[in-house]
């Protein structure tokens, strides 16, 4: 149960949909429980769970048509008027909302690395394992994602967070 918040946050970062995120987390646990005999006692169980969830999501993306996913236009729109200096906003609810919106507006590969590294604190190597990509890809995506987030939080930015 210790991972459920992190898994849900990651699932939400992937899907941008709370209902889908709940289904993803539940399915990840179902699969993990069914395959728990495959995990060695010293395995990184937390990373393993995130890997399973990411695989469930990849399968879902293959099946689900894009229009079936509910984006959150309201949150993305929240980037349109970033307002004041991000340092002054730090700790305030608006900053949190705007940052959530900025992360949601990131392209999917960037959302993934932000959720796993910046929020969950996985190392680059762990993120690479979870996503099934080279560590160098993680590093470059993360640098680009933070650049976009920084742009979104700067005063006067258009805030879309799009590359």
């Amino acid at each position: 149960m210790a991972c459920v918040d992190g898994l849900f946050g990651f699932a939400y970062a992937l899907s941008r949909n709370r209902a889908v995120a709940q289904d993803l987390v539940q399915e990840a646990y179902v699969r993990a429980l069914a395959a728990r005999h495959k995990a060695a006692p010293d395995d990184n169980i937390r990373g393993w769970l995130f890997t399973i969830l990411h695989n469930v999501w990849k399968n879902e993306v293959r099946r689900r048509r894009p229009e079936a996913l509910e984006d959150s236009p309201a949150l993305i729109e929240a980037l349109a008027d970033p307002g004041a200096d991000p340092e002054r906003l730090l700790g305030r609810r608006e900053a949190a909302d705007r940052l959530r919106g900025a992360i949601e507006a990131l392209p999917a590969p960037f959302r993934e690395v932000v959720a796993l590294r910046c929020v969950e604190g996985f190392s680059y190597r762990e993120v690479a394992t979870i996503l099934g990509c080279p560590a160098g890809t993680v590093m470059s995506r993360l640098a680009r994602a933070r650049s976009l987030l920084r742009g979104s939080l700067e005063p006067g930015a258009n805030g879309r967070g799009r590359p």
Binding site: Q22, L90, G91, A143
Partner: protein
């Protein structure tokens, strides 16, 4: 700033991913490179901002309960009085399952044989729908239209039945719509009905994904109906013709009446009416 060859290392440095000589070389470079110093400070600000606010939501209590349910091994099923649901199971078997399928059955995936997980999923989606937390992706009271919507979206063929009503007669239920829900690494079909102003939910997936297990089993012919109480709901699940079904309803709804969503033809209703203990059909 972005032209500096060391710029791509700023994120890695802030994240503590540079070690040894690489880290020392980067620090020496930053000491002499103003653009990289600015980039480093900006990077630290973004990292601190992300850490300072919680940018992603926590799991809702509902999900925690669902996960806890998965993690805690359920005790052996107690025998309970299931008069109405028993009626539903027996009648479903006697009447045959009317939802058509031409799905070609493949060997069951053993890793997905979690006991009662499909009934739990049906109860979950039912509760979420009843609470207004599960928006329908297609709204229609026309079974044919709904069947067309599911075609190609789920990996099986689902044909929802429809029954004509006589002049001045009203249907006992109303089809509200449907949506996809994730189950077993694929999509299941969720169909929402309303009966006596109460929601009734039908969840359908391929029998390759799951087969009902657990609960009280009522056999009728070749069919086995699994009767369970999940989260205060009645859930009947069964497998037939390559598909697995779970019918979830509130305890306030007669179990046999829920059968009407698929067995509403006049002849079938007569058989349901004749069953003792179900006078309201």
């Amino acid at each position: 700033m972005s032209d500096c060859p060391a710029r791509p290392l700023v994120s890695a440095y802030v994240d503590g991913e540079l070690i040894g000589d690489e880290r020392a070389a980067f620090e020496a470079h930053v000491a002499a490179c103003e653009p990289c110093r600015v980039a480093l400070e900006a990077e630290r600000t973004v990292v601190a901002t992300v850490r300072g606010v919680k940018p992603l939501p926590d799991a809702p209590a509902e999900l925690r309960a669902r996960v806890e349910g998965l993690l805690v091994r359920r005790p052996a099923a107690r025998r309970t009085a299931w008069p109405a649901v028993l009626v539903a199971g027996v009648l479903l078997g006697a009447l045959g399952v009317m939802v058509g399928s031409r799905y070609r059955s493949r060997p069951l995936a053993p890793e997905l044989r979690a006991a009662s997980s499909f009934a739990s999923a049906a109860a979950d989606v039912h509760l979420r729908y009843a609470r207004g937390q599960l928006p329908l992706e297609v709204r229609s009271d026309q079974p044919r239209e709904l069947s067309r919507w599911f075609a190609g979206r789920v990996p099986f063929q689902l044909t929802l039945p429809d029954y004509p009503v006589g002049p001045g007669e009203q249907k006992f239920y109303r089809l509200e719509g449907g949506r996809l829900v994730a189950f077993g690494g694929d999509y299941a079909a969720y169909i929402a009905y309303r009966m006596d102003d109460q929601p009734v939910s039908l969840l359908v997936t391929s029998a390759d994904r799951i087969r009902p297990e657990g609960g009280e089993i009522v056999r009728s012919g070749a069919l086995a109906f699994h009767l369970e109480s999940v989260s205060g709901l009645k859930v009947i699940s069964w497998t037939d013709n390559g598909l697995t079904y779970a019918l979830a309803s509130d305890v306030a709804v007669s179990g046999a009446r829920t059968c009407l969503v698929c067995h509403g033809s006049p002849g079938e209703r007569e058989r349901l009416r004749a069953f003792p203990g179900e006078p309201g059909i």
